[in-house]
């Protein structure tokens, strides 16, 4: 009788603790991949019509106008 009770207790304790394993709580980060619509690049279409160099030149000129030291000297 005692032996059966001991056995039953051991099995119960064993089963009740079986879900208490130690697992890493840190989520593993997997960078997502964009799968939406593809975007047209700025120099494609419109006024630049695929001329990347002209687009870069226009943008560079705008960049430089932000430097007022170059505008006034």
């Amino acid at each position: 009788m005692k032996k059966a009770l001991f056995l039953a207790l051991t099995v119960t304790v064993g089963l009740s603790l079986s879900a208490c394993g130690e697992y890493s709580q840190v989520a593993s980060y997997k960078p997502g991949n964009y799968q939406g619509k593809s975007d047209t690049r700025p120099w494609e279409g419109g006024q630049f019509a695929g001329n990347k160099q002209a687009w870069e030149a226009a943008l560079n000129s705008r960049n430089q106008t932000q430097n007022e030291y170059k505008r006034t000297h």
């Binding site: 939406g36 593809s38 700025p42 279409g45 006024q47």
Partner: protein
Amino acid sequence: MARMKFLCDAERCIECNGCVTACKNEHELPWGVNRRRVVTINDGVPGEKSISVSCMHCSDAPCMAVCPTDCFYKTEEGVVLHNKDACIGCGYCFFACPFGAPQFPNGPAAFGTRGKMDKCTFCAGGPEENGSKAEYEKYGSNRISEGKLPACAEMCATKALLAGDAPVISDIFRDRALRRGKAGDAAWGWTTAYGKPEQAAPVAKEGAK
């Protein structure tokens, strides 16, 4: 073309909110959505400092990392953009962003009723045909494809807000900071931002007797 970045000079910003107004007007943003705003530290206290803040188009953007629908993408110019068709308005990007850039048209509503996220696009539109009506309605004006810089920076009266190629605007800022006559780390405004006011040692003028 290098990475597109914003740079705000706290020594020049006069808290006029011209950048905020320019942005709202350029993109016809709805009430409650502010892609850009001006933050003032020690408001009302002599020596207060202001900076203009929006999406900083992070090199390693946390919004991109947390988005469950992977609706963000980065252009070749380093501009972080998103696809509104895929956005579910969960708000994860809002919590992840250190600058509070993501905005929701319906404000702090419950999940599913906030509407699609809206943020600064560096005036580069979104994944629609450049300059199309659909692009304008969803993402606002696409000035970059017209060879222009963002409206906020071009509108800035004191040129406190610079936008464009990172090496170019950092050169402009470096040149400006060195002309202020401060020496060493003070030239960059670090002591202004984080330390007590200090007087830089006078720089001896060349040829002075």
